[in-house]
């Protein structure tokens, strides 16, 4: 008998175990073909069976080599629990099961390098502040509630720098006011932005699905939803089309894709909806961006003008060392590039210092920062160090509130619109999350992960899949592998997003109606209550029990 090598990896050390029922299996091989992680293989097993063939029982033992489906006992091929095998199996013979005895955290780091993963943080997501807050001021007798089916609602949020009333260049002749002079551009858009997910992080098809949904929502449903390109630019054709007006162009710390954007500028028919300068991202603050070489396809190479290599965006914009400097250099140049016609906003990871940044922006003498996007820990990412994904970051809710209240103190609320993201829609209901964040002071929210889920992503916060960094996305969403990308049905994905947004819009109305508001309840913290004393104290909302 072979000596037991106790340090060998066994299936029981991996996070997911395949449950296989050979008696159901017809060896069609579908599961093996479907598994993008190469976690299962066809193997031969020696089986002994008892058979009796005569008229009377005459059992006899027979030994034979039988083909079976077997899970590989290798960390590199660990099953991620995506369930594709289960989906394709015609006989219900196979499925992944979570393995509570997994030793993966010890095994993973065997090469001496950090573990990379995509998807979402597996910690910090169970206990959500937003779920402990409810809309508690329901007007029925005092303030008659509106009827969400019959009344009209004005569901729009600003993107752009808003001036204080006395700063507006208004002239009065006693009867009329006339606006003379320039005011910073402000776009009134739907309070839900499709968050920045680049081509590269997403497959071209997934990106196209989101873009398609954006255009459809605008053109067909008159819902002015905007989509952010993500770092890395976008197709020249799109930049030269009318649809550019629905797009927010992103510049991030890697500055990928900006060459092409700048070259396309003279040919742009319309202005983009805005510029978003991404300083940091909430799911992995301090890590910067990472597009693993595995995902740098030909298309990505040509859009970004890069070779097939890991593409790293630094954790900050190198060369800028203070908020003031950022304001002056970055905002100025971005504003000037589009001749001060396009609002320029900034996106930072939520952090203990978010309020300081916001205060600084509010005091910016040039009045050009067109929005402060705060991204919280509960968001997702295409690729990150696991240690960052799970162990760094800051929840967004209290940060939004603090920033809003800091503005209230200075009488400057609303001047730099606040946008919140990072886990909005985590439990599936983005409208409720958005509504609560808006009551706490946000002007709008940005969503990303839930869009990916609408495209068919099977990952979750409990460690399922989250293999977005590998290039093996089983749903074809965040891979550039042409064979896998084809798994994604663009039209279906776009349709799901459109449907979800239409439902969200109705849900918004359902929430606005009982509190008696026909426009967005920005800062209406009086409408919210919580059964958690600590949350009540921290957010300055009513404690109820």
């Amino acid at each position: 008998m072979e000596a037991v090598k106790i340090q060998d990896v066994s299936v029981n050390d991996l996070p997911w175990k395949i449950q296989y029922q050979p008696e159901r299996c017809t060896m069609c091989g579908s599961c093996v073909a479907a598994c993008t992680f190469n976690a299962i293989e066809v193997a031969m097993e020696r089986r002994s069976i008892t058979v009796s063939t005569g008229h009377q029982p005459e059992p006899s033992q027979r030994h034979m080599a039988t083909p079976v489906i077997k899970q590989k006992a290798a960390v590199a091929n660990a099953c991620v629990g995506c369930g594709m095998c289960e989906k394709v199996c015609p006989n219900n013979a196979i499925k992944p099961m979570r393995n509570p005895d997994s030793r993966i955290n010890c095994l993973n780091r065997s090469g001496g390098t950090t573990v990379k993963r995509g998807g979402r943080a597996s910690l910090n997501s169970a206990d959500r502040t937003l779920d402990k807050i409810v809309v508690g001021r329901i007007s029925q007798m005092t303030d008659p509630a509106l009827d969400s089916e019959r009344h009209t609602f004005d569901i729009l949020a600003p993107f752009g720098r808003v001036l204080l009333p006395h700063e507006l260049p208004l002239k009065s002749n006693g009867e009329e006011l006339t606006l003379s002079g320039h005011t910073p551009p402000v776009r009134w858009i739907y309070p839900v932005i499709f968050s920045d997910m680049s081509i590269g992080a997403l497959s071209t098809r997934a990106w196209e699905a989101v873009a398609l949904a954006t255009a459809y929502l605008n053109e067909k449903h008159k819902l002015p939803v905007r989509m952010c390109s993500g770092e890395g630019g976008m197709p020249v054709k799109l930049m030269q089309s009318e649809y550019l007006k629905y797009m927010i162009l992103q510049i991030a710390s890697g500055h990928f894709g900006w060459n092409r954007i700048i070259k396309a500028m003279p040919h742009m028919k319309v202005d983009p909806a805005g510029i978003l300068i991404k300083i940091g991202q909430g799911a992995k603050p301090g890590d910067g961006g990472l597009l693993p070489a595995a995902k740098v396809s030909k298309t990505v190479q040509s859009i970004r003008g890069v070779p097939k290599a890991d593409l790293l965006s630094p954790p900050n914009h190198q060369g800028l060392y203070s908020i003031e400097e950022s304001v002056q250099k970055m905002f100025m140049s971005m504003n000037a590039a589009f001749k001060f016609r396009v609002p320029v906003a900034i996106k930072c990871a939520a952090s203990a210092t978010s309020v300081s940044v916001y205060n600084n922006l509010l005091r910016d003498p040039y009045k050009i920062c067109g929005g402060f996007f705060i991204d919280g820990i509960q968001g997702g990412t295409g690729a990150a160090n696991e240690v960052s994904l799970d162990h760094t970051g800051h929840p967004v809710v209290s940060k939004i509130r603090e920033c809003y209240l800091a503005a209230v103190k200075q009488g400057r609320q609303g001047q730099i619109p606040l946008w919140a993201g990072g886990g909005v829609g985590l439990t599936g209901n983005a409208a409720a999350d958005a509504f609560k964040l808006i009551c706490l002071g946000a002007n709008g929210v940005f969503i990303g992960k839930i869009l990916v889920q609408l495209c068919g992503c099977v990952g979750n916060e409990h460690g399922r899949c989250n293999a977005c960094n590998t290039g093996n996305c089983p749903a074809g969403i965040c891979t550039q592998n042409p064979r896998l990308v084809k798994r994604l049905d663009i039209d279906k994905a776009a349709q799901n997003i459109v449907d979800y947004m239409l439902a969200l819009d109705s849900e918004f109305k359902k929430l606005m109606a009982p509190v008696g508001n026909s426009s967005l309840p920005v800062g209406r913290s009086d409408a919210l209550v919580t059964t958690d004393k600590a949350i009540a104290d921290k957010l300055a909302i009513q404690y109820v029990c």
Partner: protein, 368 residues
């Protein structure tokens, strides 16, 4: 729901007219209070039209504190009218010991000051008095302004009238303009300051209804002007925004409606003045008022206005007979005081409409 009203007349009238306007509308209020602001005074105050008149309710100690404060700050008392309450048993009224209506002369060094400087002084003085009296609840100071008298009391309006002898038209207390409200504020504790109408630097306003953007308005207004304090009622926001738009920003009156109930964006987009309206809407978003409401306001120059929420969830009617015009929550009030007017000419303002009564008693209406 409160009941509110206003009367504007070419001839001075007695406050009993205001009571007659309000009392028939009793279904809509709960007899918990009565308050009014009178402007363009005749009777005993006729001679002092350009001198500031202090209206306050206080304790004995409060009266002394006020006297001392005013003296130290070089205001000279010119005339005072102190109603002696009829303290008969059974009256439903929570009276303060003293009601003082006292006319002062400006401090010596202010007599040549600009109008603006005087207005700031009057505000600062009222705020200082309020702070002084507030600490130990020694009194409430409602207004300090030339030609304006404010009376507020908690209790049954009928009994309040008995107490202040408001049923007997002695000719002492007469005015050409009055804004009046029955009932106290229900949303918050019943405090004297919470009773409408509210007053600030010549602007008087009372509202019937709710403001669901109260918190949002308040958070913004607090930093806009030192006079925006108190916030005992969600309706105070209406006054402060009126004051802010007309007096601080010095915008034409029609923009008040564009601030409190801005047009929806798609309607703004269709208008020739869309740039201005968009700029206003985005800049003053925190002064928007939501919820069912009607307001009646009186401006420093004596004009009156009324408008309602964008969905017109609260009623209001304007009617007159050529000499007197009244604005009222319900038409029964008008029928009581102006029975012979031509009812067909009554105006029921629509949503998105503003009605202004000019000094010449012309009724101007315009669509927002």
């Amino acid at each position: 729901m409160c009941r509110i009203g206003a009367i504007k007349s070419k001839v001075a009238f007695h406050p009993s007219l205001a009571l007659h306007l309000m009392l028939p509308q009793q279904e809509g209020h709960d007899n918990s209070g009565f308050a009014m602001v009178m402007q363009d005074l005749e009777g005993v105050f006729a001679k002092y039209k350009d001198k500031p008149l202090l209206s306050l309710a206080c304790t004995q100690k409060g009266a002394a504190m006020v006297e001392h404060f005013m003296e130290t700050n070089n205001f000279t008392p010119l005339y005072e009218w102190i109603p002696r309450g009829v303290r008969q048993p059974g009256l439903d009224i929570k009276a303060m010991p003293y009601y003082i209506f006292r006319v002062y002369d400006y401090p010596e060094h202010y007599r040549t000051a600009t109008q603006e400087a005087k207005e700031e002084l009057l505000l600062d003085t009222r705020l200082a008095l309020r702070e002084l009296l507030e600490k130990e609840e020694n009194g409430f100071v409602y207004s300090f302004w030339p030609d304006v008298l404010t009376l507020k009391e908690i209790g049954d309006p009928r009994d309040i009238a008995v107490y202040f002898k408001l049923w007997d038209n002695t000719g002492d207390l007469m005015a050409k303009n009055v804004v009046v409200q029955c009932r106290q504020n229900t949303n918050y504790e019943i405090v004297r300051y919470a009773a409408h109408p509210f007053f600030l630097q010549g602007y008087t306003l009372c509202a019937n209804g709710e403001n669901t953007f109260y918190t949002k308005n308040k958070e913004y207004q607090k930093s806009l002007h030192r006079g925006y304090i108190g916030f005992e009622s969600d309706s105070q926001n209406f006054l402060y925004t009126l004051h802010y738009v007309l007096k601080v920003l010095k915008w034409p009156i029609k923009y008040y409606k564009h601030v409190i109930t801005p047009l929806p964006f798609d309607e703004i987009a269709k208008r020739p003045d869309k740039r201005e309206l968009t700029a206003i809407r985005q800049s003053l978003g925190h002064l928007e008022i939501n919820g069912p409401n009607t307001i009646i306001a009186m401006l420093p120059d004596g004009r009156m206005m009324t408008c309602c929420d964008s969905k017109k969830l609260r009623p209001v009617v304007v009617g007159g007979d050529g000499t007197t015009i009244a604005i009222s929550s319900e038409v029964c009030g008008l029928n009581q005081i102006l029975p012979h007017r031509n009812q067909e000419l009554d105006v029921y303002p629509n949503e998105r409409e503003v009605v202004v009564i000019t000094r010449e008693l012309e009724v101007e209406r315009w669509k927002q």
